[in-house]
Subunit: 336 residues, 2 copies
DNA sequence: GGTGTGGTTGAAATCGTTTTCACCACAGGA
DNA sequence: TCCTGTGGTGAAAACGATTTCAACCACACC
């Protein structure tokens, strides 16, 4: 709770407020001896600049916001946890915006933030492109696991394609050939990529794609249940199922258990995400781990660069973070 | 993005900036016709006061923070969702602090917030009393579902006692007499109250308390599993179980299902919280609903009053929000 | 008709920074 | 010697609100 002002620091050092301000914002242009003297006194008396005065005179933007479409979903809750940790470390206020999958709420939050001259916004998967586009015109933006059309926005995402492909190839190596897929929503690029990974893995093993083995889900638990119900109506069951996320995989797992269908004895199962939260089930799910800390760290770094204006301009517009297959207890090798 | 200043509004209305400011902060003291004229022009041109200028001149604190100890827990995620919604409605920036059940993190967050002259902090259950005490000395505080020693801090909580009591009495009315209890952590007052409710309900029905029917949990899914395992080792099983929260109840439910023990045929089960998230299981849990929206609204209102300084001073230091028993599919009536 | 009185309003200082502009001293070139 | 550029610094004007203080105008009352 610093009670000192820039003027007082100036007086203590026998210099002017202007110079102290320069030390704060542009240290290089003040002569070394004086600069050090000022820096020392600031440290000694525990001076902290008043953020409101700063922002009033420099019309610069400030603060970060994070948009997630469903904070009750542990994947996004995890992102909130990481990003808010990083922001706090840097002493940057973060506003968390849970849009509840509601475009009107996105609009209201965004208006509010723009009015308050927010410095940057990080969008997680699930936010509408309208909102992102509008934000982009007024402030810095970074996407996590969300693709924009033409790489106009910086984005950080998991390697959804290879993660999915690796998972399905793992099943293929275990001699599975009849592999079901529980997909995500059609509009979500990250979900689409997982689908591509699924298809290409099959192709690589000369297994023909079979539409009846695909069940469209919405990433929530229930759609995993529904998917499993659907698969069991088929005259010939799949021997393995790959789900576009853990929640649906667990829905499927739960459904199977209730019907006394054994996983992995009767059906093998792989998820995607590896949310720690989901160790709640006593069967350890085999899944593709997304490196959420890394994802968040990258997104945050890019944002900081943008805000600081370190525009090497050649910067990668798109960063891909590798995934990792985590072997659990839900897959088995077919003898055939 | 309002480009108007208070001075311009004044000019448009043929008055002075001072008066416009008064309309903003203290409308009553400016004569009705002038006030309305100013209000209208502000509306017309879409004027929004510059928050930084405001905060610079009025040395008042500003902004809110919300502490939760585990944002991955849907109960707290729900609180984050509600409070951030309310804050945004009022145009107040909210900083969400997920302390990850770590006292060091609490300290860091708090230091940061106090440095930034935060206007108020809302603490949810699970934050250490040290942190709350320290915060209380420098800023406004409100607790949700967290009791302070002597009512020094305003607090809003669910009617844990009566909610628990009602649940257990419901079981008693269904002729259950051997009722197990899965408790929460010892230090949590809200969990303790649920325990008291359990005990008093038994007493009211002349059922003697039996220590072996109590299993201590930590509110997480796993401890529900453990509790169920424990109960099943008893020579005589309980015919019903009341769990101090939904997560543990679902752990117990899941364990039972895996062991082919039917709920409610073999054992009845009641939870506490009614997190919408948990409709994920296809069996609808009978549970005591906490009115989270109301809880949050109350806490928020109290905070706003404190910030505004409307200290009727006679204000209730403690508000209790009623709970409601939600009948699901996990309880049955014993014939005996 | 003078004197309060209370309700409204405006002028001006203030909050703590940033930033522009002018100034100075000194170095280097003509 | 004079002129010009340059790096370092200070004075002072913003930034956009709040707040104090004084002025003003009825109006009523003695």
């Amino acid at each position: 709770m610093s009670k000192y002002t820039i003027t007082e620091i100036a007086k203590l050092c026998g210099t002017s407020p202007a110079t102290v301000s320069r030390v704060l914002n542009n240290p290089d242009i003040v002569a070394a001896p004086l600069r050090e003297k000022i820096e020392n006194t600031m440290r000694e008396v525990g001076y902290k600049p008043n953020p409101f005065a700063s922002r009033l005179s420099s019309k610069s933007r400030w603060g970060l916001a994070l948009f997630v479409f469903d904070i009750l979903n542990p994947f996004f809750a995890m992102i909130v946890r990481r990003i808010s940790h990083l922001a706090m470390e840097q002493g940057i206020p973060l506003t968390v915006c849970d849009t509840e999958n509601n475009e009107e709420k996105e609009r209201i939050y965004l208006d509010y933030l723009l009015d308050n001259k927010i410095g940057g916004i990080i969008f997680a998967e699930g936010i509408s492109m309208n909102t992102i586009e509008r934000a982009r015109q007024y402030t810095e933006t970074v996407l996590i696991d969300r693709h924009s059309e033409e790489g106009v926005v910086s984005e950080v995402s998991s390697d959804n394609y290879n993660g999915a492909r690796q998972a399905v190839e793992y099943l293929l190596q275990l001699n599975h050939r009849r592999i079901g897929f529980i997909s995500g929503p059609a509009k979500w690029p990250s979900a689409e990529e997982r689908f591509r990974g699924y298809c290409d893995a099959l192709k690589a093993y000369d297994v023909s794609f079979n539409q009846e083995l695909v069940s469209r889900g919405d990433l929530r638990f229930e759609s995993g249940i529904n998917a499993m119900e659907y698969f069991l109506t088929l005259s010939e069951w799949p021997t393995a199922i790959f789900s576009a996320n853990d929640q649906m995989a667990l829905g499927a797992l739960n459904k199977a258990k209730l019907l006394n269908i054994s996983v992995p004895e009767d059906i093998s199962l792989i998820g995607f995400d590896n949310i720690p939260y989901y160790t709640i089930f006593n069967t350890k799910l085999t899944t593709v781990e997304q490196n959420i800390p890394e994802l968040c760290q990258c997104a945050f770094n890019i944002m900081m660069k943008k805000i600081r204006g370190d525009n090497t301009d050649k910067e990668e517009k798109r960063i891909i973070v590798p995934t990792q297959l985590k072997i659990g207890e839900t897959c088995r090798k077919l003898i055939g």
